[in-house]
């Protein structure tokens, strides 16, 4: 594959490809290129993994303790703390 020419063209479509909003033609083109180009394959796999790691951490996120009490107090909403 001619890296200078071909791969960057493909990469500009990558966001749509990963978000499932690329056209069928673009998807097919990217799949085909990845099958032939190990570098782009690794690129896409590690890109997906990168997003996964951040999302995964976000899902396990917990608010700091006393968060709601501090916030409600600072906003003078103490009366509504009970529920």
């Amino acid at each position: 594959m001619d890296k200078e020419q071909h791969c960057p063209d493909l990469l500009s479509e990558l966001a749509d490809f990963m978000d499932g909003t690329a056209t069928i033609e673009v998807c097919a083109e990217i799949e085909k290129h990845m099958a032939e180009c190990p570098d782009c394959r690794v690129m896409v796999d590690t890109l997906e993994k990168t997003i996964y790691l951040y999302r995964n951490r976000e899902e396990r996120f917990e608010l700091p303790s006393g968060f709601r009490e501090r916030l409600f107090t600072s906003l003078h909403l103490e009366d509504y703390l009970k529920d």
Binding site: K3, L11, D16, D45, Y54, E58, P64, L71
Partner: protein, 199 residues
């Protein structure tokens, strides 16, 4: 974002405290995470959240109902966080992110395949620090796009509306952010792969 609110916009507009409390309960966890990921500091994130919600309360009569309350709150909070970042690190904040992706951005430099590492390797405290550091290196504009779209799950349209930029500009920023994070993480996890294979 949810369509149905647990509070009435009209009550909110007329200064009803109970409606405000309900709004705070509904949106504060998401807004806090936005501020925390933007700023990287829990204390500062709580300050930004408080300031943003106060601003929202006092400006509720300016809320026109054309966008959703959530989008409006996200906008106030991200602007507040961006303002803080500008004060802290003025050199880092470029107002005009390039609209087009330049080729230089798009050519990957790190091509180690680290996906195969055992799952534990991704969960260590050290790995978490790497995630934070990589995020910290993003420009605020890129960071905001990544957080809203990929971490908070807003649609492209909602994220673009929040940041008051076009959808194509949002997509460009999102791609740049993702690629830059991938490069940073690849350096660290690429080294883990080499260590793993050689002992």
């Amino acid at each position: 974002m949810k369509q149905e609110e647990t509070f009435s916009i009209d009550a909110l507009r007329s200064g009803d405290r109970e409606a405000f409390a309900a709004m705070v309960d509904e949106y504060s966890p998401k807004l806090y995470r936005l501020a925390l990921r933007m700023l990287g500091d829990p204390q500062e994130a709580e300050d930004v959240l408080q300031d943003s919600l106060l601003k929202a309360y006092h400006a509720i009569d300016k809320f026109e109902g054309r966008s959703k309350v959530g989008t409006w709150l996200y906008r106030i909070t991200s602007n507040e966080a961006l303002m803080r970042l500008r004060k802290k690190q003025p050199a880092l904040v470029s107002v005009d992110e390039p609209i087009q992706l330049d080729k230089g951005d798009m050519v990957p430099r790190q091509l180690e395949d680290w996906c195969c590492l055992p799952e534990d390797e991704f969960m260590t405290a050290e790995a978490m620090v790497q995630l934070d550091q990589a995020m910290e290196e993003l420009s605020p504009a890129l960071k905001a796009a990544f957080i809203l779209r990929d971490l908070q799950g807003l649609s492209t349209e909602e994220a673009a509306e929040t940041l008051e930029i076009s959808e194509s500009a949002l997509k460009t920023r999102l791609s740049r952010a993702r690629l830059q994070l991938r490069e940073s993480l690849s350096i660290y996890f690429g080294d883990r792969v080499k260590e793993f294979m050689h002992g």
